[in-house]
Symmetry: C2
Subunit: 199 residues, 2 copies
DNA sequence: TAGTAGTGAGACAGACCTGTCTCACCACAA
DNA sequence: TTGTGGTGAGACAGGTCTGTCTCACTACTA
């Protein structure tokens, strides 16, 4: 009823499908994966159950789709940030700053990928793989930036450390200590980069 | 049947109760909190459902008890390590090493407190509070160690950073990269401490 | 012997879970 | 007009969830 397809959208690209993904994302973020039932998703998305099951093979398939969609958006945003390119240190600091702004959002509720790992943490599981992909992509992005400042091996170690700082900061932000976490992460990242460069 | 109370145990201290907590811990760790049903816990603990509900008010009560029990064990182990006291830098390195050994255990499956936060992440929730308590306790412990090397304010920042490294490393270990994570965490912690001491 | 505390076994209630199915409806195209 | 594809509504199956309840049993103590 409230979801008329506007003329410029091809129904094939399915606004319903996207709407289901967005609603599921919000609920998974707020309530968790197991705690969110299909019935709740279709009620809040205002679609019939069959509409959901025509677009996704199962709840797990929907979860994977939600994670992949969030991964695409995450990459887009970091790509956009990288396009306003600066010096390497500034770029790492910008990434940390991006996390700091995320932590301050009213709808922040921790990292969906980390939560997915907590609830579906078996290697080989598609949900597990989707989460690993996102973390590894961020780490590689940072290693690429740091390689301009230090050796490749040093950049690997430093990017791993900074990824850990970011993941730890996200956990602290979940516990209401995001500001303190970001300050410490910024300083620690700068110490790590300075030490890596010195070698 | 297989759970005869041996004479030296007072039945009041309830070996059943402890056995339920241990079984629940194993299942929560392996499967997650929502994914583990009461029926599964009592079946594997080989106790009647009423035995469980006489000892714990609800599943949530059991979860809190499991977390508190793990917290006590965690503190005990770090206390024991601290008793073999060394220089401050060595103590931080020992804590990181302790995590490294944990990552290598066959039954390692991520941090139960972080997982609990992912599944019951609303401030004020007793599960949330139990998780925050564990993280904050570790951070304060490290801040105390670092205060011997630098100013109190510096020690606060550095302990926050090292806690984040540890939490991030735990996440990476869940993704099968524990060894790499521990190496990077060790080096980063040493860089952070060196920088904090220099100020 | 009688009483008591803890327990086992399992039925039960009432809710919720995922996933399937049918049937009616509507917009649009040939 | 007659199809066709997407959808809505909701029944349904078969299972699982938490939590309560009863009744019988055992070990121990007074």
């Amino acid at each position: 009823m409230a979801y008329r397809v506007s003329p410029e959208q091809t129904p094939k690209a399915s606004s319903k499908r996207q709407h289901i993904v967005e609603t599921a994302y919000r609920l998974f973020r707020q309530e968790g994966f197991h705690a969110t039932g299909i019935d709740r998703i279709i009620a809040e998305a205002q679609v019939a159950k069959m509409t959901m099951y025509r677009h996704f093979p199962s709840k797990e398939g929907l979860i994977v789709e939600v994670l992949e969609e969030r991964f695409r958006r995450f990459e887009e945003q970091l790509d956009r940030m990288a396009a306003l390119s600066k010096q390497p240190e500034g770029m790492i600091d910008d990434i940390i700053g991006w996390y700091g702004r995320w932590f301050d959002r009213a709808d922040f509720n921790g990292c969906l990928f980390a939560h997915a790992l907590a609830e579906y943490g078996s290697p080989g599981h598609p949900v597990f793989e989707a989460s690993v992909r996102q973390k590894e992509s961020l780490r590689r992005r940072m290693a690429g930036i740091l390689a301009k400042l230090m050796s490749g091996a040093e950049a690997e170690t430093a990017s791993t450390a900074i990824l850990m700082l970011i993941e730890g900061a996200t956990l602290m932000a979940e516990m209401g200590q995001g500001g303190k976490a970001i300050d410490a992460a910024r300083r620690a990242a700068s110490d790590i980069i300075a030490a890596g460069r010195r070698t």
